[in-house]
């Protein structure tokens, strides 16, 4: 069985679904997940949700787009979409991404190299609507028909048909959330077309013009972060209380006294974690504290709004939200007069603050930003800690967070550390800049409403799951504890939920965690057993 072919213009035609993803079409997984019974069935979409929200793309709901109540409302939304489409192509409105967007609109050779590189398209069993170029081609036709000079009716003839209606708009919005924004397709395109950017530009159009976005990233994410201080909902008092709890816990556990400095003016480093770490994986910020104290660094955390939460979800869906949060990060650093900001183990925060924010952090806000991975490399390779690799005598593999590795080129620092402290480290295939996304990229790791979870774990996360099974092939015996090192909060969230979905910890003892935990686990000045081999 295979999916039926879907023409570009079918996106505007009414149908139950444009192309439903089916479990029986998915690429089979390696043993012991190679039988249909070994993986969960897709849950049917709830009738009430189907009634209320648009689901006719593929039968999955990611962003809960309410169905318009009448034709007038549909028309109004289509008008807004068109206005937003025009803005995408105006330099005054889209100075950040206009150039790569235009290049992508003008130059696609339709060779489909990008399709082969996309884990979602591949692992879905090649559902044609998940091809990176399917999404781009819809936008390309809309651009040539409605925005570019000389478009109009002739464009249908020259560039292929496209009809703009609410069906198209709603499906395109959901379709922009069937892409992890990992940009593996952009990397493989022989002529430099950036289909990975298209998902981002579409999401931006929908959020900024139509108020359509994922509630988890927007209302509960960026908006809450700017109001309370963190997307987790922790205000300054709660976060300090939690860090104090972690400090005590870590001091007990390691025998190394840790007291996190808060708002210390003139410190060398402002360390900003993804605040989710503090709540869900406290041993990660805890291990940072142990390492920084043991290495004698001058550092601080900040209790300013967003100063203790490196999250910047706007990176995935909204330039305006993005800029607001990035400015808060830089201002927190400026206020404390630190020499640099160091970003903890969070991939999107890396790309957001060090790369994308570069154009708005000028003058007094041009404060150096650095990855924790290079700071850790310097500490470990500079022999500033006493380390005994035999304490890490278990199989370890490394997941490359797309934002740090493919998109920023931080490839070797984490590997040098692992080669030094983890004797049974092995790579996944492929890895480095050719890695595959965990399947949680671009916000998916925090999105699980309706039936999106099944799609996230069975389609988006399928390639990573396959890679992990292969990395530990021959060692799946639950008597051997195994560790997937994923130095990124978002990736860890995805791996936790993925492993739970497939029962990988209970059945095969595969745990996940960050890099700092492995370092502290090898520190001879710390009590042994930092990694507890308990599910979390």
């Amino acid at each position: 069985m295979t999916y039926k072919r879907v023409k570009i213009e079918e996106v505007s035609e009414p149908a139950e679904t444009l192309s439903e993803t089916k479990k029986e079409e998915l690429v089979p997984l390696p043993a012991p997940y190679d039988t249909p019974e070994s993986t969960p069935d897709f849950k049917p979409l709830d009738a009430a949700a189907k009634e209320r929200y648009e689901s006719d793309l593929d039968g999955t709901i990611a962003i809960s787009i309410p169905k318009p109540k009448d034709e007038a409302e549909e028309r109004a939304l289509v008008e807004k979409f068109l206005a937003g489409l025009e803005k995408l192509f105006r330099v005054e409105d889209n100075w950040t991404f206009l150039q790569p967007l235009l290049l992508t609109m003008e130059h696609c050779a339709r060779c489909h190299t990008c399709s082969d590189s996309c884990h979602i398209y591949e692992m879905s069993g090649k559902n044609p609507i998940y091809r990176p170029a399917y999404r781009s081609e819809i936008l390309r036709r809309l651009y040539k028909r409605f925005v570019k000079k000389g478009g109009g009716l002739l464009s249908d003839f020259r560039n292929g048909k496209i009809r703009l209606n609410w069906q198209l708009v709603a499906r395109l919005a959901e379709l922009s959330y069937r892409c992890n924004l990992c940009r593996r397709c952009a990397q493989t395109c022989p002529i430099g077309v950036d289909n990975g950017l298209i998902g981002h530009e579409l999401r931006k159009l929908f959020s900024q013009e139509l108020g359509i976005n994922s509630k988890e990233c927007h209302d509960l994410g960026s908006v809450q972060q700017l109001r309370v201080g963190s997307s987790t909902g922790m205000n300054a008092l709660v976060v300090k209380d939690n860090i104090e709890f972690i400090d005590e816990d870590m001091s007990d556990k390691t025998g190394i006294e840790v007291k996190t400095p808060w708002d210390k003016e003139g410190a060398d480093i402002l360390l900003i974690h993804n605040a989710g770490e503090i709540l869900a994986w406290p041993e990660n910020p805890g291990a940072f504290g142990v390492i920084f104290e043991a290495a004698g660094l001058s550092w601080t955390m900040s209790s300013e709004i967003a100063g203790y939460d490196s999250i910047n979800y706007g990176l995935w869906y909204d330039d305006a939200q993005f800029a607001r949060v990035a400015l808060h990060h830089a201002q927190a650093a400026k206020k404390l007069k630190v020499k640099k900001i160091v970003l903890g183990e969070c991939g999107h925060a890396h790309k957001a603050l060090t790369v994308i924010a570069d154009r708005i952090l000028t003058g007094d806000l041009a404060i150096p930003r650095e990855s924790a991975l290079t700071v850790l490399e310097e500490i470990v390779m500079g022999d500033r800690l006493k380390l005994d690799p035999s304490r890490n005598d278990f199989p370890v593999t490394l997941h490359d967070p797309c934002n740090m590795v493919r998109l920023m080129g931080i490839v070797e620092p984490q590997r040098r550390v692992l080669r030094k402290i983890a004797p049974r480290f092995r790579e996944m295939t492929p890895h480095g800049v050719d890695n595959y996304c965990c399947g949680g990229g671009s916000g998916f790791a925090i999105m699980s409403g309706h039936n999106f979870g099944d799609w996230r774990f069975q389609v988006a996360g399928r390639k990573k799951f396959e890679q992990i099974l292969n990395a530990f092939a021959g060692e799946m015996d639950p008597a051997i504890p195994k560790y997937v090192c994923a130095p990124c909060s978002n990736c860890k969230g995805q791996l936790r939920d993925l492993f739970t979905y497939y029962d990988l910890w209970e059945k095969h003892k595969v745990l996940y965690g960050g890099l700092v935990e492995l370092i502290v686990n090898a520190m001879t000045d710390a009590k042994p057993g930092f990694i507890e081999w308990e599910w979390h």
Partner: protein, 107 residues
């Protein structure tokens, strides 16, 4: 699968798409019991209530769920025991029963 609303003692409570209570102040013990049967918990034991009550108190004070590690330390249960009590885990299981909103951010 979530039903978007939950009816407890004739009161209709709206749920979010993950099945969490939309209005946490509408919570009461019957609501916890109603969620418990969805979780496959046949009867709430004193151990369940110890976790639920701790979560509820912490939430009312701080407007957010506690760290799982703190929950374990304060209640004396290991993470494994929490999972045994609430099969969907501390967030999707225990917090939901205690009427907390869905945890947000990368948690």
């Amino acid at each position: 699968m979530s039903e978007m609303v939950k009816v407890v003692n004739g009161v209709t409570l709206p749920l979010d798409e993950d099945g969490f209570l939309q209005e946490p102040d509408k919570w009461n013990e019957q609501v916890a019991e109603a969620f418990a049967s969805d979780e496959g918990i046949t009867a709430l034991t004193p151990d369940h209530w110890k976790v639920v009550n701790y979560l509820r108190d912490y939430y009312l004070k701080n407007k957010i769920a506690p760290m799982v590690r703190r929950l374990c330390k304060e209640t004396g249960f290991t993470v494994k025991q929490i999972y045994e009590l609430f099969p969907s885990g501390p967030a999707k299981g225990a917090c939901k029963l205690a009427g907390l909103p869905k945890p947000t951010g990368c948690v």
